[in-house]
Every structure is written in structure tokens, then in C-alpha cells.
Symmetry: C2
Subunit: 252 residues, 2 copies
């Protein structure tokens, strides 16, 4: 771990997927920054161009690739002097390797941030329930990292995904936060029933559905974890990838 | 007035002054955009680097100039392909001319947007009360534009500025929204007592103080007007500067 820096690192946010998620991440970064004055906040550049092909469709092989639009954004952030960048969309991390290869600055990966946040919990969970889009689940980058750290994880069944998770995300995207609550509660209850002792919200829409919702077990917001990781990195308290192990390193 | 465009114009936001104001402007733009899907939202690039010398101090001659930091940001937005840019800070518009001269893309000026919004009201006000920082009032770009359009305007007295406006802004910056409400109400009441029939909130902190506050006359948020002007410009329903007259064009 480095010591803190006098000049915070400039961070790029690759947004647009959708545009509200990039605004939400900025607000979380602002709130997570220890700053008494304006000028103590992080220098942030945001590329929030929503004209990007649909990520879930691309992962599932039913739509065009968003990679060209995404790498153009990453390169623009590098050209704007950013020293690292983050992507304000879970599903888009399916292409994390292509993105990281396109630029010379590190990608602060949302799943690294989330797994680090889980590992730091005072009572580490034994089995994590992942709520995400079908694209994120198919990409498997959460499950791989959790397994590497020795965590068990489960995902919704096809039926639960369709009835609860897809529905909750669709309601939030439509602006119907109230209507998203019941399906969100259904998803959390189903995973808790199968032994999950922590629910990882790995989609930027889900924390909105979770507001005021009941869950039998604690919830962890991957976007909040990413915001905290960005602040730590910019201020010099973490390296890119955090303390991510290079290989399996179980704690169970 | 142009017809609408198939491809919205890419808009740059020069932020950092403070960083929360740039996030707030993005949220207002998102909410003001007629979009059924993510990809129908505007392409936005945000330069939110808060390491900018204090604007009010610079206007009042008691601190260093922020112009170099601001023009660097405007140039970065131009280099990122933006076709126009806006500044998420009222006081910073003191340097609007230097900023516009530094780049080849138009500045969507917050006071143009606010005066247009005032002129479009179904019941046009006769006397506008301006609430702003001392820097914005000293810069006089609101008053000049209002007078050009034939509107009378008034500003707080020195005593009202110190007791009410400065205090409300300071409380919001400190995160004390509750504590900002009473001084905001004091300012609005004082201007209404002297005949203002509309209060123009020409500082990004003041709409937060106004939430739930009582005012004897209607309030107009310059930041909301700017967001709407940005959406109209990006979608091709307005030119830079709106329908701003080149010379005085009274309506009274």
C-alpha cells in the first residue's frame, strides 16, 4: 500500500451504459471522498456517450458488439490525461480485457472492488448470492473472482432471473422504482433460501430497487465498492486491482 | 430555429466549480431529455477537475485567476469532440469571453438560458430579483442581459447579501440544507418586498436551499434553464445563444 498523495490521480469514467449509472457513480465518488473544500475532491473526467450497442444483447450473441464505441471512450479518457479509468456498467466488464488492452492506463475493475469490499467485511460471508443482468452472469467475472478468493457463490435460477431480477431491472429502467421493489425482494429471498448470507447487487439499477426493500441478509452494492476503490486509488491508498491475488487464495 | 437532428450534438460540461454542481447539471440534463431508451440520451463529456482557484475571490481581486485552469478544461472538451460546451458554475461566467475565445466551439451561456426561460414565461415578470454570489453580481452578466431584454432587476442590499444569501450558500456548501432554508426565505422575502415578482436563483447552491422553502413570488433556477437549453441545442431545436438579441429588445 502506498502512502497518500498530495495531488490526487485523475480518474476517467467510461459511462453511457446507461447515462444515469455514470451520474450515480460520480455522486457516490463525491460522497465517498474525504473533502472539506471543493478543491479536495477528485479530478474526474466523464465520457458519457450513450450511443453504445446494447451490452446484454451482445454478450448473449443477439446484437452487435459495443467494443468499438467503448474503446473509443477509453482512449478519449486516456487522451484527457486520466491516470486510470473505471466503467460505470457491470455488464460492460465482459469486455474488460479488450478495454484494458486498448489503453496504457489501468482499468479499476468493478468486480475487483466488490470482492475486496466483501473480503473486508468484519463477518465474511460464506455464500454470496449474485444479482445481475444475464450478460454479467454469462460473463462470469464475479464468480471467477469470488471463487479465487475462496467464496462460494450462487446465482438465481432461470425462473428467478426472469420473474425477479430481469423484472426489477426493467422496472427501474422504466422509472418505476416502486414496482421494482417486490421483484427485488423476491430475488433476495430466493437466494437467501438457498443459503446466501450476502446479496451482491452487481447491476447499477438494483440498488435503486433495494431502497426500502426487505432482505433476509445484508446487501452489498458493487457500484458503491467501485466508488470507494476509485477514491482510494486516486488518493494513493491503493494500487489498480487493489490487493487482488494473482491466483486462488481461499479464506474458507 | 433548426429542425431536429438525427444525431444529437456532443456537449461538454466544464465542471469542478464545485464538483457537485457538475453532477447536478448532468442529472438535470438527463431528466430534461425526452428519451425512452439509454441511447436516446445526449452524448456528454464532463471535465470535473475541482483544482481551480476560487472564483469569487478572483472576481473580487483577492485571489489568483482561475482562467488558465478553466481554458485548459474547455480545450480538453473541444479535443474530445464536443460541439458546444457549458459551464456548471454561475460565477465562472465572469470569464465567459476568455473561455469562448480559447476554443472554436460555442459556449452555451447560463445567463442566456435563464433570460430566455424568463422571456418564455406565460406571465412575464416586471422586476426580477437576482440571488447570486458576490462574484456573479460583480460580473453583472445577468443584469446586462435582463436590461437588454427590457426587464427591470434588483439585487440584495449589502446587509441582505451578508445575512441571507452568503449564509444560505455557505450552509449548502457545508451540507446543511436545513440551515440554508431560513436565510434563503429571508432573501426571497426582502426582494419581493421591494417589488420583485420573480426570484432568479443564479447560483447552483440556492435551489437546494429553496427545497421546501417559502417564497412570496415564483422562483426560477438558472441551472434548470441551462439544462433545458443544452438539451434543445444538442437535439437541434436551438442555436448557441438561443434567440438572444444582439441589442436591446424590450418587452416592457
Amino acid at each position: 500500500m502506498k502512502t497518500s498523495r498530495n495531488v490526487p490521480r485523475r480518474i476517467g469514467i467510461l459511462g453511457g451504459m446507461g447515462p444515469a449509472a455514470a451520474i450515480d457513480l460520480q455522486a457516490k465518488i463525491l460522497a465517498a471522498t474525504p473533502a472539506a473544500t471543493d478543491s479536495e475532491h477528485l479530478p474526474i473526467v466523464v465520457w458519457n456517450l450513450p450511443q453504445v450497442p446494447d451490452r446484454v444483447a451482445a454478450v448473449l450473441g443477439t446484437g452487435p458488439s459495443p467494443v468499438a464505441a467503448m474503446t473509443a471512450g477509453a482512449r478519449a479518457l486516456e487522451a484527457a490525461g486520466c491516470e486510470a479509468f473505471a466503467v460505470a456498467c457491470n455488464t460492460a466488464h465482459y469486455w474488460a480485457e479488450e478495454l484494458a488492452d486498448a489503453v496504457g492506463i489501468p482499468l479499476l475493475h468493478i468486480a475487483d472492488a466488490a470482492v475486496e469490499a466483501i473480503a473486508r467485511r468484519p463477518l465474511p460471508p460464506m455464500r454470496i448470492g449474485i444479482l445481475a443482468t444475464r450478460g454479467t452472469l454469462a460473463a462470469a467475472f464475479y464468480g471467477t473472482r469470488l471463487a479465487q478468493r475462496g467464496f462460494e457463490w450462487i446465482a438465481p435460477t432461470e425462473d428467478e432471473q426472469a420473474r425477479f431480477v430481469d423484472r426489477a431491472i426493467e422496472r427501474v429502467k422504466a422509472g418505476d422504482i416502486e414496482g421494482a421493489r417486490a421483484p427485488f425482494e423476491g430475488a433476495a429471498a430466493a437466494l437467501a433460501d438457498r443459503g446466501a448470507d450476502l446479496i451482491l447487487m452487481a447491476c447499477t439499477e438494483l440498488p435503486l430497487a433495494a431502497g426500502g426493500a426487505r432482505s433476509p441478509v445484508p446487501l452489498l452494492d458493487a457500484g458503491q465498492a467501485l466508488a470507494e476503490a476509485i477514491v482510494a486509488y486516486s488518493l494513493g491508498f491503493a494500487t489498480a486491482g487493489g490487493t487482488k491475488p494473482n491466483g486462488p487464495e481461499g479464506i474458507s
